[in-house]
Subunit: 212 residues, 2 copies
DNA sequence: TACGCTGACGACAGCAACTGCCATTACAGC
DNA sequence: GCTGTAATGGCAGTTGCTGTCGTCAGCGTA
């Protein structure tokens, strides 16, 4: 039996998440969060670097899972296959879709939280880029593939959250990755068939949907 | 002659940029910036939303130039061609490479500034996505292409800044875009030959057997 | 038993970012 | 000359965040 209640960081996270969603991020002070967890403001800042960081704790686990999965992909696989495998594996650390939805809604409603989310994703891209360099990719290609992979992650996450029939994470990753291949494989000119007889952008959109 | 010196926002930007680079972002107070421009802290916050925003004023011009260029691309062009045209055109609003280098170094040295840069790029991606939707692309494809385009922008900008022979912006955009096509076109198995030009050179012959 | 060390926390002072409110003053239009 | 407007200053107040010091339980050790 310790002098204080156990798991102070966890209690602070819980309290912060609830207060942020109840009365909004701006309308919540750090002192309120700490009091709600039975602690003081000073202790809050001993456990978290700032008011936003309390919402971004799972990021390291996500990153580690992704990187480990990429490292485990056999070297014979293509870059996009490795990235795809990493993204799919990282989905295992997601909590329930319900919680992810609430969290994303919270972030979407606050520019400050969006900024933090974005720099976390940029850091994730850097780690992914390192993993790809370990597979033998040159620097530029690795960085580009990593940034693109994180773009896929963002789109896939949005679609996963909004999917009315709740198809699994891996399906959305595959779909968005396929969409990426489709976009980048598009060729100009009339010699390739794909764009033949598609004068307007509208027609191209429909064709793209059909070809999906 | 007005009551005050003209162009207060411009003077504040100039003063902020110089102080940030001289003594660092953290070691500079808003009061110092304002005093250096012959104004008060209160006036600073009338012209700029916060301490970081004073460094991110050109963003709207960049965005407008990019979007206009994408809108001007004929509908027969592919998505990547449109994005490439937009990125190349937007390069016209860059100041001298020297200034861009100092600015990027400043941002790279401060996480807070990185966060602001990232949310500006995210906003840029949203605008680019809108422009692509105007071309008839479905939502997911437009967002994905826009995010990918911004990834290309980031990589190309880094390479442009670091290019020892200072080749023009358009060349770097083209190169990174080609790299993107190469990465995404990579196929499992040995029948395609494209990937011969990149990566570790390790045999990927068994990829189709392993990953289907 | 007595002593000291450590680790988690509270209390307090203080700085800087940012906001709201009101006062000031040149300039334009009437 | 009068009045409205726009740009600024002054000032108090809130909040995020930091530095510093004190408190107190648990632990080991002579």
């Amino acid at each position: 039996m310790g002098r204080w209640e156990p798991n102070a960081p966890g209690r602070l996270q819980q309290a912060a998440f609830e207060l942020y969603t109840e009365r909004g991020y701006d309308q919540t002070t750090v002192a309120e969060i700490a009091a709600s967890a039975g602690l003081t403001e000073r202790t809050f800042f001993r456990h978290f670097a700032d008011k936003r960081e309390v919402l971004f704790e799972g990021g390291d686990r996500f990153r580690a899972t992704l990187v480990d999965a990429v490292d485990a992909v056999p070297p014979s696989a293509t870059t996009l296959e490795a990235v795809t495998a990493g993204l799919k594996a990282a989905g295992s650390v997601f909590p329930t879709p319900q919680l992810v939805r609430r969290r994303q809604a919270l972030i979407l409603a606050n520019p400050e939280l969006q900024e933090r989310e974005l720099i976390k994703l940029a850091s994730l891209a850097a780690s992914l880029g390192e993993a790809l360099r370990r597979r033998g990719m040159p620097d530029t290609a690795a960085e580009l593939a990593a940034e693109t992979g994180v773009a896929v992650l963002r789109i896939a996450l949005t679609r996963w959250i909004e999917d009315p029939v709740e198809r699994p994470w891996e399906v959305h990753v595959s779909e968005v990755m396929d969409e990426l291949r489709r976009i980048t494989a598009e060729r100009s000119g009339v010699a390739h068939g794909l764009k033949r007889s598609m004068g307007s952008g509208r027609a191209r959109a429909e064709a793209s949907a059909v070809l999906g």
